[in-house]
Amino acid sequence: MSTTTYDHALDISGTAHVPFARLVRVELRKMADTRAGRWLLISIAALTALVLGIQLAVILSNDFQVDFRDFMIAMNTPMGVLLPVLGIMSVTSEWTQRTAMVTFSLEPSRSRLILAKFASTMLIAVVAVVIGLALSVAANLLYGALSGNEVLWDIGVVDVVFYFLLHAIGMATGFAFGTLFLNTAAAIVIYFVYSFVLPGLFQLGAQLIDWFADIQPWIDFAAAQNPLIEGNVSGEQWAQLGVSGFIWLVLPLAVGLWRVLRAEVK
């Protein structure tokens, strides 16, 4: 070779790491800057409004007596289904669309990046709960105005915290499934099997097999989350939430994170 060998070091002393808050902002942007992402966000709000609207119509036409909690429970359904999908896609779209190569070359610390992704999904869960609450408040006020019944606000701060916890858990479970499968279609299908088919099987098993009835509350994560919706969680129920959550949230997340941190990014 003709070139003389001279040491050309790269001076990185003046360069700071990409601040964590900036990573979170970029991740939030990435969830809304594609059609798929934007429409998923819009659908969550629109479906929630639609479900509340239908509920309001049914209540008014049947002259039911309801309170704020009834609207809050109705709001849970569309959010509970769609927020985990958002959690899944925040991870898997990087792999399905192969953007992970670019993302990780701009921030080589994968653990920081995954943490930023997780933080951004949690922020979305907070915003979703706030929007859901606002829509429920609107529904309850409309109910009062249209039915002439007394408007009841029977929830407290604890209930709101529980609602947030519920959707944070849903989002995190989706996120965990996303890291585990690193593929949008596979993660969504298996998540839906887990969230719609499995609880039925658990119930059936509990009815048919005696010993299974004893362990079912400890392994059925969906059933364990119900007390959060009721707004009243006993000590044993917290324990059941913890144990079943360990199985369905912590374990998949741990395996998934191990996979993301080690995997070759293709």
């Binding site: 070779m1 003709s2 070139t3 060998t5 001279y6 040491d7 050309h8 070091a9 790269l10 001076d11 990185i12 360069t15 700071a16 790491h17 990409v18 601040p19 900036r22 990573l23 902002r25 970029v26 942007r29 990435k30 800057d33 594609t34 059609r35 798929a36 779209s93 669309q97 192969r98 953007t99 190569m101 670019v102 990780f104 070359s105 701009l106 921030e107 080589p108 610390s109 080690r262 070759e264 990014v265």
Partner: protein, 304 residues
């Protein structure tokens, strides 16, 4: 400066990269050449921390890539121009990069202009881009942070001839300003004109490295293309010297160095109109070296 030291990457029993070492100097363009599957991409992926090496290491300016804070400001990377979200617009892809690196939006406009993507094109989604447009966008993305090192995998792939010429000028200028450029290709003629140094890789091993002259010096057979005002007389003179001559198009193909042909022309008073190394000499060498990677053949005089 990029320094590859004893790099090995195995996939089970398959060795994709087998103990390779080379250096890319600042102020030069290094061409990384090899047939498909030779290990170029794997090497470049290890460089930027996407693939962990089985052995050896790569440092950029003395640092492992993962130790460089905000690496986009130091190292521009384009590994696969298609590895971007198909639903994002070109501009949005640059926007995400610029925001991650903490750059102002004005930088995006500068880069779009530099790679000749119009504002209308930048508003289109990536799925509607041709490969050439994706490459331009990818190069814009790599240049966003004004890095001093560029690592580009097959950047000319999909570019039209004008695009290849544009890229050549861009990278030459970049190296002249002190930048370090490593670009890979499986096509020799893409790299030949632009690279100061060439690394030839086949089946995971470096089979030759050096500049064009030193590589050619080591080639077994050199031939020259010559056109003169009196081809017949020149051919006769060369044949008399024992050199093999064949007619080729308007001129002759001579199996020797251009200097031999020039001297013969001078002695016999023949006016030359064209005299050059036969195109393909380097290509023959390239094919010869990479066709059989079992052969541990390092071209003499071309080693580092």
């Amino acid at each position: 400066m990029i320094k590859v030291e004893g790099l090995t990457r195995k996939y089970g029993a398959f060795t994709a990269v087998d103990n390779i070492s080379f250096v890319c100097q600042p102020g030069t363009v290094t061409g990384f050449l090899g047939p498909n599957g030779a290990g170029k991409t794997t090497t470049m992926r290890v460089m930027v921390g996407l693939t962990p090496p089985t052995g050896g290491r790569v440092t950029i300016g003395g640092h492992l890539y993962q130790d460089i804070p905000n690496p986009g400001l130091h190292v521009g990377v384009l590994l696969d121009a298609s590895a971007q979200h198909a639903g994002r617009t070109g501009r949005e892809i640059l926007e995400i990069g610029a925001r991650t690196m903490g750059l102002p939006s004005s930088r995006i406009d500068e880069m779009l202009e530099q790679v000749s993507l119009t504002p209308t094109e930048a508003r289109r989604r990536l799925r509607n881009y041709s490969l050439g447009m994706k490459q331009r966008l990818g190069i814009a993305h790599a240049l966003l942070g004004d890095p001093s090192v560029l690592i580009l995998d097959e950047p000319a792939n999909g570019l039209d001839p004008a695009g290849i010429r544009w890229m050549r000028g861009l990278l030459k200028g970049y190296a002249e300003r002190g930048g370090t450029v490593l670009l890979s290709s499986h096509l020799l003629n893409e790299v030949e004109l632009i690279a100061d140094e060439m690394i030839l890789i086949g089946n995971g091993r470096i089979v030759a490295q050096g500049n064009k002259a030193s590589l050619l010096a080591g080639a077994a057979a050199v031939s020259t293309l010559v056109t003169s005002l009196d081809n017949e007389r020149l051919a006769k003179a060369l044949t008399a010297e024992g050199v093999t001559v064949a007619s080729a198009g308007d001129g002759l193909r001579v199996e020797s160095e251009p200097v031999t042909v020039g001297r013969a022309a001078l002695e016999h008073g023949v006016v030359l109109t064209d005299l050059r190394h036969a195109d393909g000499a380097l290509e023959d060498l390239f094919l010869e070296l990479t066709s059989d990677a079992q052969r541990e053949h390092l071209v003499t005089g071309a080693t580092a």
